[in-house]
Amino acid sequence: MTLGFVMLVHTAFDRAEQVAQYWSNAGCPVIIHVDGKVTQKVFRAFKARFDGNRLVRFSKRVRVEWGTWSLVEATQLATTRMLDNFPDVRHVYLASGSCLPLRPVGELQEYLFANPETDFIESVTIQEVTWTVDGLEAERFTLRFPFSWRKRRKLFDRYTELQRKLGVRRKLPEGLSPHLGSQWWCLTRDTLEAILKAPDRIAMDRYFQRVWIPDESYFQSLTRRYARRIESRSLTLAKFDTQGKPHIFYDDHVQLLERSDCFVARKIWPQADALYGTFLDPDRPAKRVAEPNPGKIDRVFARANDRRGDGRQGLYNQGRFPAPGFQGPVTCARYNVFSGFADLFETFDLWLARRIGGRVHGRLYHPDRAEFAGEERVLNGCLSDSATLRDYRPQQFLTNLLWSTRGERQTFFYGPGDTPEVAQFMARDPNATICVISGAWAIPLHLSQRPMDEIRSEAARLQRAELAFLKALNDVGVTARVHQWTLADFVVQPMEKLQNIVDEITGPGPRRLTDIPPMPDLSAFPEFLQRLRNEGVKPVVMGDFAATPLPQGRRRHGR
């Protein structure tokens, strides 16, 4: 006989009984501590189920409250009883009523037999702890915590805050090096006896009675004082969620648990019949000798924690709706917005699609309808091209579009005639790359044969809208990558500017642009601007054409 189990039980007595019987059937003594809050009647009935089983005994009960000294006290009582009653026990394994052995006890015994002097206890210095969720690490040891965290949270928080303000610091007892770790350990008789029979135990216990969550620090710190060899890890597989609560295992985890090769897991959902059936089956074949390997299970639970904690960026649904002022990304992927380019260059969309790939839409926010690439009427995810549906929630039209097409680069055109509500949203989105040639909207007007008074009012409307757009792009809080030129600036060496844009979107590559799409003849454009001016519309967004050599020689296009 080498191994004894100490079990702390407060609920799910049927399951606790099953596991205790399983261990004792394998010849291991079990000392059970039943929470003092459990009624005498329930306790007696539970105890009676072990009548005649010499290996299962009960320790004196204390009322246990989470995060307090009572849990350590219960552990001390049960462990003392184990050491006193069963002198052959060389290792004591601390378990709870919702623990489940995953491998036959024989394998665990062999493992411990091969490591007779090793204490298996996660024990990490407070500087290296990464898992605490309350932010209290070193302070667990230097402040006092007389109030219950669960029942009197406000008082707990206020008293903690008060001590911080007053600069209260408790003195650590002589020879104590604070360590933290999982509550569930497997310690040698020698270490436990040294801790429980230490000459300064009374002082030590008194100190830990005011430490926060002493069950994660008492044995973890004191083992450091006496152990010959510490393996700083728990033999019990336990995964914790973003709130610091243990994840629960269900029937569908059976394969993950089997492959983990861990000895014991917690917590198990009490109604996980298949787990209890599988792992407590006395005929379950002994497997190979294997080191515990929780890597795969770690990944599954880490992923679930990421989902819960950070979520999928750019997703909005019934479970995820970041509040206004949320600092993270508001869309799920990078995208590109071009303004003015299609007015300056003929067939710019085709040219751009060849250079940067992905989907190049038309004007998604066109007043008539969303111009999806390829003339589609409905896009991925059944996103409709209806302007009214789109403009009902214009920002979510974009987040939906990006979400449903994720994995494929999205690019679209946006002009001063388009739904204005998205401008600021895009400008504040670090996923957006926004390229603007301001004033380019005047080119189609210039080339059109429309009467001047129509042109004048249209120009005034578009310029007003573009000024609002430019204002949004130059506001505080803009995080989009914005490239902005006036038309006059852009037409000087446009190839170089397009090269920079393409490089930014696709990443710099060895290929240089050798052609750009054709531009119309703009030689009469300054004259057009002067006419606008004469009509009372002051063109301000086009830039200064006085010093600009204009592209010439292309045939005129009516639009």
């Binding site: 629960i248 549906l389 039209f397």
Partner: protein
């Protein structure tokens, strides 16, 4: 919103909740108990509440589905069915049945009646409030029961869970599909819209208001604001002082509506597979058009009923075929919310 405003809103809402409870209490005489098996309700039992009217085509599978999930007892109000639904319900061993001839609309779409029952029988239980054309699914529902889910929700300190109502539709015209009562409606209506939902947060009740989906796409493009609400809070650990406000879209007290995470994380959420578009939708729409029982402002929905009566095709090239909860989670329509 300033704290003062918020306190004032909270105060007003407290009175609103009391009014809703008093109102339902006044309506308690509208329902008469037909079969009372409520003595079968054990402590900790999971309860389902529903109002039904002529749902014979859906009830058998509706019960199969939710029994498999682990609903222990169904408390049903039958609103004057004449298709044999009531007798079928009365014969089920896990059903307690009430009946009423009164107006569905004037009972706040059945919620007044259910509030009476929930107050009396739901207190302390996890309660799932559904329509007969809704099938509740959540992450892991194929391997974990509602008991597992609700145990975990309680353990997480949650008293409610939200769900998106997901309209399902067939490949062809609505009236062409064939369906038998014991068949899974998801086989008859395997398609849905995956990515066209829009959400706002409603300041007063602090719930999410989700619209969109196929009905917005096909029927409400001219007036998107009128598109049906798709957000629900169907699963609540009930207390006798709670009340649903409109259908199960929101509840009071407001914290029950906090089923979403506001810091970027994903809270657990499910989906209600909505089997409204089974082939009898066409005859039902003709009936509803004249009964005017389903919308607050029924006149505005005459066009919608006309469109449905015209036997439309809702399917399009971009429709998604239902494959299961993993697919819904992958698409972002629901989330396991840390429940690994």
């Amino acid at each position: 919103m300033g704290t003062g405003d918020d306190l004032w809103t909270a105060y007003k809402l407290r009175w609103r909740r009391r009014r809703l409870l008093a109102r339902s209490l006044r309506k308690r005489r509208q329902i008469t108990c037909r079969v009372d098996r409520t003595d079968l309700i054990a402590p900790g039992a999971i309860l389902a509440f529903a109002t039904v009217r002529n749902e014979g085509l859906r009830l058998p599978h509706f019960f199969d589905h939710h029994r498999t999930l682990g609903v222990d007892h169904f408390l049903v109000v039958d609103n004057a069915s004449d298709d044999g639904s009531a007798d079928w319900l009365a014969a089920q061993p896990d059903v307690s049945l009430w009946s009423t001839p009164d107006s569905y609309k004037r009972s706040r779409f059945g919620i007044d009646w259910l509030t009476v029952l929930m107050r009396r029988y739901g207190h302390g239980h996890w309660c799932l409030t559904l329509d007969a054309d809704e099938l509740f699914v959540y992450a892991h529902h194929t391997t974990r029961t509602l008991k597992a889910l609700t145990d975990w929700l309680s353990w997480q300190g949650r008293d409610s869970m939200g769900a998106l109502m997901l309209d399902l539709y067939p490949r062809g015209a609505l009236g062409e599909a064939k369906h038998h009562p014991h068949q899974d409606p998801v086989d008859t209506l395997p398609y849905f819209d995956a990515g066209n939902y829009v959400i706002t947060r409603q300041a007063k009740l602090q719930n999410l208001w989700i619209q969109g989906g196929v009905r917005a796409r096909c029927f409400f493009a001219p007036e998107p604001r009128r598109a049906p609400t798709l957000s629900k809070v169907p699963l609540i650990r009930w207390h006798r002082s709670y009340a649903y406000v409109t259908s199960t879209h929101s509840a009071l007290p407001r914290r029950l509506n906090h089923v979403y995470d506001t810091n970027g994380g994903e809270a657990p959420s499910g989906v209600l597979l909505h089997t409204k578009f089974l082939p009898n939708i066409i005859s039902k729409s003709s009936e509803e058009k004249t009964r005017r029982q389903h919308f607050e402002n029924s006149d505005l929905y005459q066009g919608y009923y006309d469109a449905l009566i015209g036997d439309p095709v809702l399917w399009c090239e971009q429709s998604t075929r239902y494959q299961g909860w993993q697919q819904l989670e992958g698409l972002g329509l629901m989330s396991r919310g840390g429940w690994a």
